[in-house]
């Protein structure tokens, strides 16, 4: 399966949390099936993929919700023979990924006051690539997962 590039699978969902489970199911099934070829990811890496995609879509929902944009969030997935790429695109206000504040150390009392802020760290830890393009018209996160 090294000849023709794999096809993109596209999914557009309303920006509400009820669709997260569907997104995870579709992306996980696509990565696990590899369109009839031998899947490149084992179940553990498929679980990692489901998690990082869920984080990216959660961020997209929050971004659009912060400015009341009802547009659908676009999720694109491409399963290659040795990796899976997923792009998540929103129409939120954009953000500077380098400006995301670090959380206090987990063993300090201040950490208890932070219920959010772990999503980007999870994406960076689990994905082999997590590229962010962000501007005033929206953000696209491109995640790459390779076999473990």
């Amino acid at each position: 399966m090294t000849g023709r590039p794999a096809d993109w699978i596209e999914l557009a969902v309303p920006p509400t949390p009820e669709y997260l489970q569907l997104v995870r199911a579709v992306v996980g099934a696509a990565a696990g099936s590899s369109a009839g070829a031998v899947p490149c990811l084992d179940p553990g890496r498929v679980a990692d993929l489901r998690l990082v995609v869920s984080e990216a879509v959660t961020n997209a929902i929050e971004a659009q919700g912060s400015v009341g944009v009802p547009d659908r969030i676009l999720i694109r997935c491409r399963v290659e023979f040795d990796h899976v790429v997923v792009e998540v695109a929103d129409r939120g206000p954009g953000f500077d990924p380098d400006a995301v504040a670090d959380l206090p150390d987990v063993e300090t009392p201040e950490r208890l006051r932070h219920e959010s802020g772990l999503g980007v760290a999870l994406m960076q830890r689990l994905a082999d690539g997590a590229a962010v393009e962000s501007g005033p018209d929206g953000t696209t996160v491109r995640l790459t997962i390779r076999p473990g």
């Binding site: 949390p17 009820e18 997260l20 489970q21 995870r24 553990g44 679980a47 489901r50 998690l51 869920s54 984080e55 959660t58 929902i61 987990v106 063993e107 300090t108 009392p109 950490r111 208890l112 006051r113 932070h114 219920e115 959010s116 802020g117 772990l118 999503g119 760290a121 999870l122 830890r125 689990l126």
Partner: protein, 131 residues
């Protein structure tokens, strides 16, 4: 699986001399969709006077950063009322997500409710963060 939170009182014989409390059994995916339901259940427990909550994640299929955030918030709410939170989390995948976020340094992750209650009534010092 549809997200839901079931509640039961802590077994009385296991909490002799211990604080009032409950077991919250979480079912389904603990994500942005499910998190508000768990937060509401924890707030209800604190308001009702529970000082020990055992959060049973045995039937949780998926957890993400939003779900973990609610667990952290639950600990903060209980500690603010001199209470504590114990987490039951036998599934390796769910434990791994805690570990990826270093939250295994904060929570003892127990294999079942009985182990969690034992740890609570034996007054093990809380790990990590205090309120």
């Amino acid at each position: 699986m549809q997200f839901d939170v079931h509640r039961r009182d802590l077994p009385r014989d296991e909490t002799v001399g211990g604080p009032a409390g409950a077991v919250l059994i979480v079912l389904g995916d603990l994500d942005m969709a499910g998190a508000p339901g768990l937060r509401q259940a924890v707030v209800a427990e604190v308001t009702a006077g529970s000082r020990l909550v055992v959060l049973d994640l045995t039937a949780v299929d998926f957890v993400d950063s939003v779900g973990l955030g609610v667990v952290v918030g639950a600990l903060r709410r209980l500690r603010a009322h001199d209470g504590d939170l114990m987490v039951v989390c036998p599934a390796p995948r769910i434990r791994q997500v805690f570990e990826l976020c270093d939250l295994d340094r904060v929570f003892d992750l127990h294999v079942d409710v009985e182990a969690a209650v034992d740890a609570a009534v034996n007054d093990a010092p809380p790990r990590g963060m205090s309120a």
